[in-house]
Amino acid sequence: MPDISARDVIQLFLHPESAASIDAERWQQIILVLRYQQLLARYAKRIRKAGVFEQVHKYAQHHLINAEIIADKQYQQVHYEASLLQQQIGGIGSHLIFLKGAGYSLSGLSVGVGRTYSDIDILVDKTAISDIEKTMSLNGWLPEEMDEYDQKYYRQWAHEIPPMKHATRGTLIDIHHNIIPVVSTRAPDINLLFEHTVITKDGYQILDKPAMTLHSLIHLFYNEEFKYGYRDLLDLHLLMSDNTEEYWQQLLDLAESTGFERELFYACRYTNRLTSTAIPEHVVNLLNQKNSGPILPIVDFIFTQLLIPSHPTVRSPSYSLAAFMGFLRGHHLKMPLPVLIYHSVNKAWRLIIEYFLGNTFFDKEKTH
């Protein structure tokens, strides 16, 4: 196979017109990476916008068009689901805000173009949760099956309730009352975000662009899992490109009031380093003053590996170490030490059992 690097995949996004000169063998490799990273449709739309789609090798066109069709369908579907949710639970509690992928799609911003996701995330007023749960189950949404330990984890420590799935359409929905786990002690006053919402032209409530950016960067840097790190970095690249001075001021203020300035610093640092995102100089200077420290080289080591295109064929030898360090860091951020130990021991025990007895041991429906 030809030698494709993670860097080549990034360059293709930043210079979509170069798509026309890639041969079939290189495309085969690039498509594997993009499909694994759930980015085929986003690249397809990007290449189309650059006006070179027709010149792209037929082999690649075939796979890019497949992904576009699926993304277009999802775009349509999310509008449909959002209108139903609006009717069914829009009147309960103070807010019904569409977050992450669904929010991007509904926003009409470039970050939503070709973006795909596996579930719809909503943010609601915590006091309304049990009414929302009841109303949703009357409308055909059922809680996903899970064992007692996971139930307890959600109810006691998380910032969301166990996901619900529509019985006939199969749509998955995550209902949040905060944007990060309450157990972390860093969950912000959610009213700060409630103040940063807008209504789309179709009538759906989403976060405004600075708050959407803040949520996106918290989601990425306040996390332990980076399978889609590159996709999430591109979300930030698209959200943070081409903005007004007012946007930056609001983003800085919001990061300060919610206590996520360090995460904003990382977002600016790594989008700039990895995807050449233009960050205003005064923003960079301000964040640099507040956030440089002795651990920065370690954080650089972790994120410069976890936020670039990832696939077994393009990973560097130190990827697993970076992934492991990112995992520890993320868990440590989210949980006080005693909870972390309890949670890790529980999960480690399962991994050991699965290693010896097969990875379906804990599934309720067992194989032969």
Partner: protein
């Protein structure tokens, strides 16, 4: 067995299959005669693997695990069921990625360029009928999925082995003793399963499109004489739409395609036990008039 790499140059999609299981290698070579390339890597559409599970499990209850690149859509099966798992994995891969055809869960057989679709749920005897026709001079385009070209009544072949279940395995083996049968996968969720490679004539025309002249919904009923019911356009459309699995994803183009197919083809529901009678009906009443 050391890890082997095979390219399956099927039409219209190609696969690369990595496997370390002898059973997979043997069956692949038997099922896809002349279509397997173990030369280093032409470009293929999908990268699949069918391998042993990891961990200690492989020593006391060996498994077979299917991956489409890094993704594992199914739970592992017993190793003996590995080949069936690979065939189902190939179906899954196409059904979940390919959106440029309207794909129906249906067998497709043709005389020259006149194709009949046989959409049917499991247990209706579809595969037995498929095998019978394919070995009695019909051309097999597919046993599982009809690839319909958008906004047309043209169907593109996707020639693959026929998936036979339970009793039909012995029947087929008695009818076509010269056929190329795979090893048996015992007690899968569909019961015992064997794959049967179609005759040479079907392989030779694997790139030749056909136009859909009829849709026949078959239901096998032991001991029953042939009954034929002609469906009106609405009935035909509704029954057919239930079997079209990416109809929803394709939206307007999916709807228009199914409409076009239904408008230009006759639809029938048949109950039968005797395959010879069915073939007679298909040839005399449908093909000769189309």
């Amino acid at each position: 067995m050391a890890l082997q790499n095979y390219c399956l140059n099927l039409y219209p999609f190609s696969f690369r299959v990595n496997t370390d299981l002898k059973l997979i290698e043997q069956n692949l070579l038997k099922m896809y005669p002349g279509l397997i390339d173990s030369e280093p890597t032409p470009v293929t559409d999908y990268t699949l693997s069918l391998n042993n599970g990891s961990g200690l499990r492989r020593y006391f209850k060996p498994q077979a695990r299917f991956f489409c690149d890094q993704k594992e859509p199914f739970k592992p099966l017993r190793q003996e069921q590995g080949y069936a798992l690979l065939e189902w994995g190939m179906n899954w891969t196409i059904a979940s990625n390919e959106m440029q055809y309207v794909i129906a869960h249906s067998a497709v057989l043709a005389k020259d360029d006149k194709a009949i679709l046989f959409p049917a749920p499991p247990g209706s005897g579809k595969s037995t009928l498929t095998a019978y026709l394919a070995f009695k001079g019909w051309r097999l385009l597919s046993d599982e999925m009809a690839l319909i070209n958008p906004n047309s009544n043209v169907v593109t072949p996707f020639v693959r082995p026929i998936c036979l279940k339970n009793h039909s395995i012995d029947l087929a083996k008695s009818w076509f003793s010269q056929g190329r049968f795979s090893t048996v996968a015992h007690n899968t969720h569909k019961g015992n399963v064997v794959h049967l490679s179609p005759p040479e004539a079907s392989w030779q025309q694997k790139e030749v499109d056909a136009r859909i002249v009829a849709i026949v919904f078959p239901s096998y009923r032991a001991g029953r004489e042939l009954e034929i019911y002609q469906l009106n356009k609405t009935q035909g459309f509704m029954q057919f739409a239930e079997n079209a699995f990416n109809f929803g994803v394709n939206g307007v183009s999916g709807f228009n395609t199914l409409t076009k197919v239904i408008e230009s083809a006759e639809s029938f529901e048949i109950f039968y036990s005797n395959l010879e009678e069915v073939m007679e009906f298909l040839e005399q009443d449908i093909i000769d008039n189309a």
